[in-house]
Amino acid sequence: MKLLNIIFKISIILLVLTYLSKEILIPEFSYYNNKEDYMKLTLACGFAMDSNWYIEQGANSELQKSSEIQLLDCHDYDKLRKHMLADGVSEYRLSNLGLIALEINQKPAEQLALPHKFRER
């Protein structure tokens, strides 16, 4: 009976640990470990798709080859996205990272106005 009690307790502990790992530990670790790369790849893929749109409008087959190579960035993006989803990172958090990545190049107007203001008179 004592042995069964121990086995039961260990099972519960393992179950709780597995649950915590799957639902919290692994997603959090994956999120913080991959978020920089995810944002970089979001931008790189966006750039590749943007360039491809314009290159496809021309008839230059050599530029089109280079664009196909550049689009491999989107393959990396997809791969990392699926990996993070499999690790339990939510769609919502990934979408949020994507938005942050696209906002990296946005600057508040205040930053542009600052150099033009008098410091002292």
Partner: protein, 410 residues
């Protein structure tokens, strides 16, 4: 618990580690790359190679007997001379010494390496493409080359400097009456005939030890001196270049052929930029790293040029087509890191300068003094800049550095 953490770390690492080799496999597939093949050579006669080597080093072919092929194609400098533009007849010394000597005539274009020039797919020679294979026809400024007995485009290209006043013929002066120096036909076909006769006469009749050695070499090579034309000399030079100078190994070719450790990670990233968002391979394509077409990146004219008023109109000097103004043949990038300076007039002293100029020409001018000609003329040159350059997406310093390190592997 530790095991669990380790599993998480390994799992996440695999996600981050982008498989650059996978990407480069796609590059090799899409661009159908095979790596540089030393065995794929142009038609040549190996029995002429030894004679070709002697002729390459010999100054006897020049009007003033002061210039040889090796004057501007130095062995120690990967067969360039290291100067922005070459110094031809009348000069002495090699490389920078020849420039400092100050006596030679300026050849207003940058000397190029001879590596890979004997490859069977190498189809266009010189900055303006004055020798070209076009739809299996050999097109050059000396007319029909095949009927003259040339074996290959390289053999035609090898003799054209002999017909150039600044490179070989020499300066015509009243004090001299030299059969080579006095050749001044406007048409290269006539120059070819006259120079062939003059050189044959010289080689047959001139006395002296070096001439005796040259005659013996002709005899040894079974090249008939009585019927000698420049085509025979060109064929011998081409055979030497194909046998001794054209073949080489580079790390990128080794990688293409399956040696994955031939490139570092940064160099691999550079290759990915080169063939992808850098758009470099849109012109520097194939295993010879050139499309052998004519483009402009808007290279500043500098102080000297082959065209009127010391300009260099590039390809249009040959095609006479307005659309070809300021365009030059895409240079092959074989051994590019060893063949500075760069561009048709050598205005770019190092690799990062010329690569950056493709991306953005403005920083180049920030620290340079404008030559008077460029100051008033550069707008015309700038308008010829290829539209393809506008698609380059190299936006970070890392990409730029990776690209430069890849160029070291070519």
């Amino acid at each position: 618990m530790r095991l669990l953490l380790l599993l998480i770390i390994i799992s996440s690492y695999q996600a981050v580690a982008s498989d650059i080799d996978f990407k480069l496999e796609k590059v090799i597939e899409i661009y159908a790359l095979q790596g540089f093949d030393c065995k794929a050579v142009q038609n040549n006669d190996p029995t002429l190679s030894s004679l070709g080597e002697m002729l390459f080093e010999s100054k006897l072919l020049s009007g003033g007997m002061d210039t040889s092929c090796s004057t501007c194609h130095l062995k120690d400098l990967s067969r360039v001379d290291g100067l922005p533009v070459s110094i031809g007849v009348g000069g002495s010394g090699e490389g920078i010494d020849r420039l400092l000597d100050g006596q030679g005539i300026i050849v207003p274009r940058n000397s190029f390496t001879l590596l890979g020039r004997g490859h069977k797919n190498y189809s266009t020679y010189f900055w303006d493409g004055k020798v070209q294979t076009e739809k299996n026809r050999l097109v050059s400024i000396i007319g029909d080359a095949k009927s003259k007995g040339f074996h290959s485009p390289l053999s035609v290209a090898a003799v054209l400097p002999i017909l150039a006043r600044d490179e070989f013929l020499g300066v015509l002066s009243e004090s001299k009456n030299n059969d080579m120096e006095s050749i001044d036909n406007s048409y290269y076909e006539m120059r070819y005939q006259t120079a062939s006769r003059a050189l044959q006469k010289r080689i047959l009749n001139t006395k002296g030890k070096s001439w005796d050695e040259l005659r013996a070499k002709f005899l040894e090579s079974n090249l008939d001196l009585e019927g000698l034309e420049l085509s025979g000399i060109g064929n011998a030079l081409a055979s030497f270049l194909i046998e001794k100078e054209s073949c080489f190994k580079n790390r990128w070719s080794q990688y293409i052929q399956g040696k994955r450790e031939a490139l570092s990670e940064n160099e691999k990233m550079g290759a990915y930029v080169f063939y992808g968002k850098g758009r470099c391979a849109s012109c520097h394509s194939g295993d010879l790293l050139s499309d052998f077409k004519f483009h402009s990146i808007g290279v500043p004219q500098g102080d000297v040029g082959v065209s009127i008023y010391g300009q260099d109109l590039g390809r249009s000097e040959i095609s006479l087509n307005q659309k070809d103004r300021f365009k030059f043949k895409t240079p092959s990038l074989l051994k590019v890191s060893k063949t500075k300076p760069y561009a048709h007039n050598g205005v770019f002293t190092n690799l990062d300068e010329v690569v950056l100029f493709h991306l953005n020409p403005i920083p180049y001018f920030k620290d340079k003094k404008w030559s008077k000609k460029d100051y008033f003329n550069y707008g015309r040159v700038l308008s010829s800049r290829s539209e393809m350059l506008s698609y380059i997406d190299v936006l970070t310093e890392d990409d730029f550095k990776h690209l430069l390190s890849f160029l070291e592997t070519l």
